[in-house]
């Protein structure tokens, strides 16, 4: 069962949120409950710490007047306990720190209170539906994840976004190419080859996600990706790569 939580320090707004959520769950007959609706952040944190197997949808405000925890800290602590937590920030536009939250929390959504009651209601309901869908799919296809670390911080992302890892221009720096992102981080390609068995080392400076290759040119020893990026493939590795493609029946064009 997916549990829903609300932390909002304004009693009227808390009551409204409670009403919207319980009504929507009831109307749609979702396998969900409103487990906790409170005005203190610490209460939710205590609940999550006590019930470590919680999987939840959390509606959080960002600033709680007079409380030690703020929305960001609360969310990051929830994330530590509940890896799949679906977090929605409900706050005024001025308090939102969209970039920061996206980077640190990866929230499900932001709901801007100033947009008016109707808009807030519509968004809360939509987020409940999305969270419920994701919760149900989660069990079926446990998506493969990829992670890298920076400054003691772990960043996770779906493996389906990873194209390849390349040795950087300076020592001990690697460049991770994603479908719409370039990430430079500290590491050695030999260590990464061991750490990520799902990736394939095609060259002394390239570690590739073979599932993302769209075309391999045997003559020029080049591999192509959907966004047009290319990698070099060593002659010794070409044979192994082709065997892997054949064996896993990957949709890679050969020419």
């Amino acid at each position: 069962m997916l549990k829903t939580f609300v932390v909002e320090d304004d009693p009227e707004q808390l009551a409204t949120l409670k009403k919207i959520i319980t009504n929507h769950i009831m109307i749609n007959d979702f396998d969900m409950t409103l487990a906790l609706a409170t005005d203190t952040a610490q209460t939710l944190l205590d609940y999550v710490s006590a019930n470590t197997d919680t999987e939840g949808l959390y509606f959080l405000d960002i600033e709680y007047a007079g409380q030690q925890l703020n929305g960001l800290e609360l969310a990051s602590k929830i994330r530590e306990q509940d890896v799949n937590a679906k977090i929605v920030f409900v706050s005024t536009h001025a308090e939102m720190a969209f970039l920061t939250f996206e980077r640190r929390i990866e929230p499900l959504d932001f709901i801007v209170k100033d947009l008016g009651q109707e808009a807030v209601k519509a968004k809360v309901e939509k987020d409940i539906r999305i969270a419920y869908e994701r919760y149900n799919k989660q069990g079926v296809a446990n998506k493969a994840m990829f992670s890298y670390s920076k400054g003691g911080q772990l960043f996770n992302l779906p493996l389906a976004q990873v194209l390849f890892i390349e040795t950087g221009t300076s020592r001990n720096k690697l460049v991770l190419h994603l479908t719409d992102r370039i990430v430079q981080y500290n590491g050695k390609i030999s260590d990464e080859t061991v750490a990520h068995p799902e990736l394939f080392r095609v060259h002394k400076s390239f570690l590739v996600n073979p599932k993302m290759l769209v075309r391999v040119n045997k003559q020029d020893q080049l591999g192509y990706f959907a966004n047009g990026e290319t990698i070099d493939i060593a002659i010794r590795k070409m044979h192994d790569l082709l065997a892997l493609i054949k064996q896993s029946q990957l949709p890679v064009k050969l020419n």
Partner: protein, 462 residues
């Protein structure tokens, strides 16, 4: 004038000496030549002055100059000592006619000194010429000597006038600069006084003109050195005063900014409370089931919503940044962006101290990234720029982002010089950022183009 054209000094004495027998004629000739010489000398000085100072070109001045010339010629015929000083002092009477007194002093000193110098030179040149042509200076060639001498001096003075005009045209601004004029005036005054003093001394103690020349050279050299030292000291003093003033201004600016920040924080608190009051009031109003009240309330909320979100944001969270160079550059670029009608926001959820990166590198990199962002969204109706400072236990990340009108499919291309979506030649910026950040061991970066353009600099604390 005594040291000037030698006729009344050397030549006439020689003439006197040679033709003692025909004393009368000689005295007659001597008188004419001397009168012409004096008159012409004085005229030359005035002429040069009028040529290089436009303000003197008026009828009253011409008249005064004519009277002065007559007066001075008469004076010198009667009493010839200290004629240069006398000319210069009488000359100062022209100050009456000009408004730009300082500039007049420059021109009149230039004219007097130039005349003194070139009459020496003219005399010497003429004597040399006569000597080379084996011409004797006698009763009749005295006139010739005089004519040649004055022609040389006149030519030199005209050259001075022309070069002064050229100098004035090329460096007009320097001539109106008060400080520079002061320096020039004092330098010229010192040279003039020195010359007059040395000349007077040489005269009274009967020192020869050769020794006088050497004395002059030494004196001028000393004056040059003194002048240089003076100018150097003057400027270094001005610089010090300026630096002091700047640091004072800086301090005041800092106080101003911190006051602004604290009052802005109060405003933010108020806005927060106000918005929340409005929101909870809204709950009651909607529950009350009074259509007129609901309608009125919604209108009020609509209005305050736009006014509350519109012009806020550019100062938000700035007080949380303690790194001065980052703060300064964000403040600067945000105000540029705001003037271009771009929405800006700064996110800093926690106070951030000094960052573990060289401030100059950080300033250059963030400057380039913000300039790129401003350039990218300028002209877009809904352009947005946001900067976030995200703090982790062992790392600080700076996120620079801007909205994208059209998505970029290949982010890797952006990092190569000369290839961007902005057209050829604009990609140098990101390539420079890369060059600056690549060598830093504790710094890595990310570049994202999914829904918006995003450049993240991760600075690990050492």
């Amino acid at each position: 004038m005594k040291y000037t054209n030698g006729v009344d000094f050397d030549t006439i004495r020689v003439l006197n000496y040679r033709y003692t027998g025909e004393g009368r004629t000689i005295v007659y000739v001597y008188w004419y030549i001397a009168a012409f010489d004096h008159c012409y000398s004085v005229m030359l000085v005035f002429m040069l002055q009028i040529l290089i100072n436009r303000e003197l070109r008026q009828r009253r001045v011409y008249l005064t100059v004519a009277i002065m010339t007559l007066f001075l010629t008469g004076l010198y015929m009667w009493f010839d000592d200290y004629s240069d000083i006398a000319t210069f002092i009488v000359n100062m009477g022209l100050l009456w006619f000009v408004r730009n007194k300082k500039y007049f002093i420059v021109t009149s000193l230039t004219a007097t000194l130039a005349y003194i110098f070139f009459s020496f030179f003219g005399n010497f040149a003429t004597e040399t010429a006569f000597h080379l042509l084996h011409l004797d200076v006698n009763q009749w060639s005295g006139w010739l000597f005089e004519l040649v001498g004055e022609t040389v001096v006149t030519a030199c003075m005209l050259a001075v006038a022309i070069s002064f005009q050229i100098l004035y045209k090329r460096h007009q601004r320097q001539f109106t600069d008060g400080v520079l004029l002061n320096v020039v005036v004092s330098a010229l005054a010192v040279v003039a006084i020195a010359f007059f003093a040395v000349a007077t001394a040489a005269d009274n103690y009967n020192i020869g003109s050769g020794f006088l020349g050497i004395l002059m050279i030494i004196l001028v050299a000393i004056l040059m050195i003194n002048g240089g030292t003076f100018i150097y000291l003057f400027y270094s003093y001005t610089m010090r005063v300026q630096a002091h003033r700047q640091s004072l201004e800086r301090k005041q600016y800092d106080i101003y900014v911190s006051n602004l920040e604290s009052s802005y924080q109060n405003l933010r608190k108020f806005r927060h409370d106000y918005q929340n009051i409005l929101l909870s009031l809204g709950e009651y109003v909607h529950a009350a089931d009074n259509p007129a009240l609901t309608h009125y309330f919604d209108e009020v909320v609509d209005q305050s919503k736009t006014s509350l979100t519109r012009d806020f944001g550019h100062f938000d969270n700035l007080d949380r940044l303690k790194d001065r160079s980052l703060k300064a550059i964000i403040q600067n670029k945000f105000s540029v962006a705001r003037q271009a009608g771009i929405q800006v926001r700064l996110e800093a959820s926690e106070p951030v101290d000094e960052l573990a990166i060289d401030p100059v590198t950080l300033a250059r990199v963030s400057g380039i990234l913000l300039d790129n962002a401003i350039e990218a969204v300028t002209g877009e109706s809904d352009g947005q720029i946001a900067v976030a400072v995200v703090k982790y236990p062992k790392m600080v990340e700076l996120i620079f982002s801007n909205s994208l009108a059209t998505p970029i499919s290949r982010p890797a291309e952006l990092l190569t010089a000369g290839r961007t979506t902005k057209g050829a030649g604009h990609g140098q910026g990101l390539a420079t950022v890369r060059e600056l950040l690549d060598p830093l061991e504790n710094v890595t970066y990310e570049l994202g183009t999914a829904t918006r353009f995003e450049f993240i600099i991760s600075i690990e604390s050492e």
